[in-house]
C-alpha cells in the first residue's frame, strides 16, 4: 500500500483540526451564552482588541449568536472538505474560532487549557497549503508546494504540541523538585479531582489514598509522565523515543479521564495526525549525512539508508 505523502498528511491534519472544531461549535449551546450572567464574562488578551459593546451586543442577541454559529459551522465544513482557495476561508474562520474559544473561556474563572492545541493547530494551518490534497477539488497539480512546505506545517503543529507538554513538565520539576513526586501531591490531586464536581463522575483517583500500593504506583507514574513531558520535543528527532513517548503519553491521557475526570481527547487525535507522522515526513525531505557519536546521531543517520530514523 502506498504511504501518504506530505501534502496528504497535512490535509489529514486539516480535516482533523477543523472537524474537531465543527464538533465543538455544533455541540455548544450558544443560547446559553446569552443567558448566563454577564458578570461571569471576562474578555482576555486578544479579545480586548474588540470593545465591550461588541460582546454585550453579541451575547444579548440570539440572532447574532445563531448567525455566528452557522457561519463557523459552514466555514469548518468548507475547510474539512478542502475548498480552495484555502487561506481565504481558513483565516476568517480561524479568527471566528479564536473569538468563539475566547468567549467560551471568558465565562470560565481561568483560561482553561482545553482546546488550546486545536486552536494553535488551526492558526498554524492558515500559513500552509493544507488543502492541496484530500480536497473536493482534487489534488493540486500545478503550483503545488515543495514537500518540505507540507512537512513544515505538520512539524510546526507537532512542535507546538510537544512544547506545551515540555512547559508543563519542566515547570513542575522546577517548582516542585523531587518532593512533588515523593510526597502526597499526586494522590491529593487525584482524590480532589475525583470528588470535585464532574458530569463524568469517575472516582478511581481515590484508589491512590485507599490503597497505599496504588498510591506508590500513581507517584511513579507521575514522575515517569513528567519526565516524558519534559522531553516531548525529542519526538521530533528520534524514532525510538517517539515510540516510547506514545506508549507513555497516550495511556496517560486515558488515565486522567478515569482518575481526574479530565480527558483531552483532542490531543490524542492531534498526536495521531501530527506527531506520529512528523518524523516520517522529516525523513522524506532529508539528505544523507555522516553518523554522529551518540545513539540519537546514528539512528538519525540510518534513516537516510531506508529505515526511518526520525
Amino acid at each position: 500500500m502506498r504511504r501518504p505523502d506530505a501534502a496528504e498528511i497535512l490535509a489529514l491534519g486539516r480535516i482533523t483540526v477543523f472537524g474537531i472544531w465543527f464538533h465543538h461549535v455544533l455541540n455548544t449551546p450558544f443560547d446559553l451564552i446569552g443567558q448566563l450572567p454577564y458578570e461571569l464574562f471576562t474578555a482576555r488578551g486578544a479579545l480586548n482588541l474588540l470593545p465591550e459593546a461588541f460582546y454585550t451586543t453579541l451575547v444579548a442577541s440570539p440572532t447574532l449568536l445563531l448567525a455566528w454559529k452557522v457561519a463557523m459551522l459552514a466555514g469548518c465544513a468548507a475547510l474539512v472538505l478542502g475548498v480552495r482557495p484555502f487561506p481565504v476561508i481558513a483565516v476568517p474562520v480561524t479568527a471566528m474560532l479564536l473569538l468563539f474559544d475566547g468567549v467560551v473561556k471568558g465565562y470560565a474563572a481561568w483560561v482553561n487549557h482545553g482546546q488550546m492545541g486545536i486552536l494553535f493547530a488551526a492558526v498554524v494551518l492558515c500559513f500552509f497549503p493544507a488543502a492541496d490534497a484530500l480536497s473536493v477539488h482534487g489534488r493540486r497539480r500545478s503550483g503545488a508546494a515543495a514537500p518540505a512546505v507540507y512537512a513544515g506545517g505538520v512539524l510546526v503543529v507537532a512542535a507546538f504540541l510537544s512544547a506545551a507538554y515540555a512547559f508543563i513538565g519542566t515547570h513542575r520539576v522546577v517548582v516542585g523538585g523531587a518532593q512533588i513526586f515523593t510526597g502526597d501531591a499526586i494522590v491529593t490531586y487525584l482524590a480532589v479531582q475525583s470528588l470535585n464536581y464532574s458530569a463524568r463522575g469517575y472516582e478511581y483517583g481515590l484508589l491512590g489514598i485507599a490503597y497505599p500500593l496504588v498510591g506508590v504506583m500513581f507517584r511513579i507514574g507521575f514522575a515517569v509522565t513528567t519526565l516524558f513531558e519534559i522531553l516531548s520535543p525529542l519526538v521530533l528527532i528520534s524514532r525510538w523515543f517517539r515510540r516510547v513517548w506514545l506508549v507513555v503519553v497516550v495511556p496517560f491521557h486515558v488515565t486522567t479521564l478515569y482518575t481526574m475526570n479530565i480527558f483531552f481527547w483532542e490531543n490524542i487525535l492531534l498526536i495521531a495526525v501530527f506527531v506520529v507522522p512528523a518524523g516520517y515526513l522529516l525523513q522524506s525531505v532529508r539528505e544523507d549525512e555522516p553518523a554522529g557519536w551518540f545513539p540519537l546521531g546514528p539512528i538519525a543517520a540510518r534513516g537516510t539508508a531506508g529505515s526511518a530514523g526520525v
Partner: protein, 223 residues
Amino acid sequence: MRRPIHSWFRPAPFVVAIGVVLLLLVVLHPLPGRDRFVAEATVYLLLLLACASHEPIRRVARQIGVARLVVFTLVFGFATWVQLRKIYGPVYPFVSWTMYGSKNPPPAYVRYDVTLASGREIAFPLADLAPGSSTRALLTHFNRRLRHLEEVPEDPSVIDPSLHALQRLLIDVAQVYNARNPDDPIRAFHTSGCTIPIREYDGPDSIQCELLLTFAMPEEGVR
C-alpha cells in the same frame, strides 16, 4: 577529510545536557525564584538546541520560506516568554502551562448540592450550564466568592454578608437552569466545604464536610 563544522552540531550533546540539568534541578531543589527562571529557561534552550541541531528539521526550516520561519520563531519565542513569566489571562491565546505543579495542594473541595422541586438532592448540574467543556472553570467562580468566608458559620442558613455575592451568583445561574428545566427546577442550595484525610482515608464516610451556606431559591420574580 575534515568534517564541516555544522556536522558536529548534533542533538546528542544537548540531550545529555538536558538530563544533567534535570538531575541538578531535582537534587538542588528548592531554588530561589530567579534561579528557577534560569533553570527553566536553560531546559527550554537545550531542548531547542537539540531540535535545531537535527539536520532534517534545519532542512525543513530552510525550505518553508522566510516569512513562515520568522512568524513561527516569534510565536515560539513569545510562548516561551509567557511560560517563563507565568502569565495567564492578559496574553490569551497564549497562556502559561503550570498544571499540577504544587507539591502541597490542599486536600479540599467544595460541594454545591441542590434540592430539586421533586425532592431529589443532586450536585448542582453545572455540566448543563457551562457553555464549553470547562465546567470546573465555571465552578471556580463560586469558589472564589466563597474564599471571603473567614470561618465556618454557626448557622449556615444565616447568610454571612461576605457570601451575598456567592448567593446572588448561584441564584442567577440556577435561574438559567430552571428556565431550561421547568419540570423539575432547583428549589434550594446547600454548599459544603469538604476535607479529604489523605493519610487516614477510610472510605467516603471519612471525608469531613461542613455546611457553609444553605438557602431556598427566591420565588419567581422576587430577588
